[in-house]
C-alpha cells in the first residue's frame, strides 16, 4: 500500500474516483503476498501491482466496472484452474484472491 499512496493522494486531490485491489489470499505459489495492492483511477490509470503482471489487465477492467456500477466491492479469483486461464491465468500455477473496492472511505 505504501508505494501507491502518492498516486492515490494525487488522484483524490483531482477528484478522481479510485478503486483499490488487494491480494487477500493465495493458494499454492503466488507472485505477491496478501496485502499487495494496486490502485486504478476512473481513467484507467494504474499504480502498484498485485501479481507478476499476469492479472493486472483483468483487474483494471474489474476495477473500472466496480467504479461504474457503484458496487461496494467484490472478491475476484484468478488461477490456473479457471476456465479463463488462458486469458488471465497465473503462469506459476497458483490461485490469487483479490478484493477490489472503491476507495470511498
Amino acid at each position: 500500500m505504501r508505494e501507491i499512496l502518492n498516486d492515490i493522494d494525487q488522484w483524490r486531490s483531482q477528484n478522481k474516483r479510485v478503486a483499490v485491489a488487494r491480494v487477500v489470499d493465495i493458494e499454492g505459489s503466488g507472485p505477491r503476498d496478501p496485502g499487495a495492492a494496486m490502485a486504478v483511477n476512473q481513467d484507467g490509470v494504474v499504480s502498484g501491482s498485485v501479481s507478476g503482471g499476469c492479472v493486472e489487465g483483468a483487474v483494471v477492467a474489474e476495477a473500472l466496472e466496480i467504479l461504474a456500477s457503484n458496487s461496494p466491492g467484490r472478491l475476484v479469483k484468478f488461477g490456473y484452474s479457471d476456465d479463463e486461464a488462458f486469458a488471465v491465468g497465473l503462469t506459476c500455477g497458483g490461485v490469487v484472491h483479490l478484493f477490489i473496492q472503491p476507495l470511498n472511505w
Binding site: 505504501r2 492515490i8 473496492q101
Partner: protein, 266 residues
C-alpha cells in the same frame, strides 16, 4: 478520514491495521484500528467491530495479515455461528519497517544501505568519525549518526527484534568490539561482522579479553559476513549480506562464509 489516517500512519512508520469486509453482510465496510486509539469506521455492527478490532490488534502485534471469519455480531464459537451468515474480514497489518543498523561509514556501507532500502529496511548508519558519517555520503540512509556504537545500542537496542539486523563493517577493533557487545545485548535477529577469517580470529581474541566467551553469544555472530558467492564489489557484497539475512530469518540452510573455509575472494 479512514484513508487519510491510514496513509499518515503508514508514511510515519506507525503501526495500524485495516479491516475490510470482503464477504457477507456489509461487504466493503471498513474499520481502522490503532493501538491505544479509537477505532475509525465500522464493519456494520458495534459488537463485530469490538471483537474484530481486538483480534486485529493481536494480528498487528504479530505482524500478520489474514482473513478471519465471524458471525454478523462478532460471534466466533461454532455453536454461535450455526445458521448465521458468515462475515469474512480481511485484516491487513501495517507494521513499521524492519531496521538495519550499519556500524562503519566505509565503502561497503553505501552499497549495503542501498540494497537494504530496496528490501524495505529503515536504515541507520553510524560511525564515530564525522568526516565519513555524513548524509551527503549516504543520502539513501534514513539516519546518519556521528557517535559510538554503545550509546546507539543502549538507546535503540530494546526496539530491535527478530526482523532487524545489525551489520558491523568497521574492521576496527575499538569500534567492532563495543558494537558486538552492544548487539549481543539486544534481541536483534541478525548480527553480521565484516572482516577476513584472520581478522575474525583476532577479533575473537579481543572479545575473549572483554569477557564475550559464551558459545550461545558467539554463535549469533555471522563472520565473515555474507554468503560464499564470490562477491567482489561493494554491491555484490551487499547482495551476499542481504541474502544471508533473508535465509537466516526464514531458517533456510544457506552457504554462509562463516561455514566455509578458504579465501573469501577467489
Amino acid at each position: 478520514m479512514i484513508y487519510k489516517t491510514l496513509a499518515d500512519r503508514i508514511r510515519n512508520n506507525k503501526p495500524v491495521v485495516l479491516l475490510t469486509v470482503i464477504d457477507g453482510p456489509n461487504i466493503g465496510a471498513t474499520l481502522l484500528a490503532t493501538p491505544n486509539l479509537e477505532n475509525l469506521g465500522t464493519l456494520g455492527d458495534a459488537e463485530l467491530d469490538r471483537v474484530a478490532a481486538r483480534d486485529a490488534l493481536g494480528e498487528l502485534e504479530a505482524g500478520r495479515t489474514s482473513v478471519r471469519s465471524y458471525g454478523p455480531s462478532g460471534q466466533v464459537t461454532p455453536e454461535d455461528l450455526h445458521d448465521t451468515p458468515t462475515v469474512r474480514v480481511f485484516v491487513e497489518s501495517f507494521s513499521p519497517p524492519p531496521q538495519m543498523i550499519i556500524f562503519g561509514a566505509v565503502d561497503f556501507t553505501g552499497a549495503l544501505a542501498k540494497v537494504a532500502k530496496v528490501l524495505g529496511y529503515y536504515v541507520l548508519v553510524c560511525d564515530a568519525r564525522e568526516v565519513f558519517a555524513t548524509k551527503r555520503r549516504f543520502p539513501m540512509a534514513d539516519e546518519v549518526l556521528v557517535t559510538w556504537p554503545t550509546p546507539v545500542l543502549i538507546e535503540r537496542g530494546s526496539d530491535l527484534g527478530p526482523r532487524d539486523a545489525i551489520c558491523i563493517l568497521t574492521h576496527d577493533p575499538k569500534f567492532d568490539v563495543p558494537a558486538i557487545q552492544g548487539a549481543l545485548a539486544t534481541n536483534v535477529g541478525y548480527i553480521g561482522v565484516m572482516g577476513s577469517r584472520k581478522t575474525h580470529a583476532k577479533r575473537l581474541e579481543r572479545l575473549t579479553e572483554v569477557g564475550v566467551t559464551q558459545q550461545k553469544d558467539l554463535a549469533r555472530l555471522m563472520s565473515p559476513i555474507g554468503l560464499d558467492i564470490g562477491s567482489r564489489t561493494p554491491e555484490e557484497t551487499a547482495i551476499s549480506i542481504c541474502a544471508e539475512i533473508i535465509g537466516r530469518r526464514v531458517g533456510r540452510v544457506v552457504p554462509s562464509l562463516r561455514e566455509s573455509t578458504g579465501p573469501i575472494h577467489k
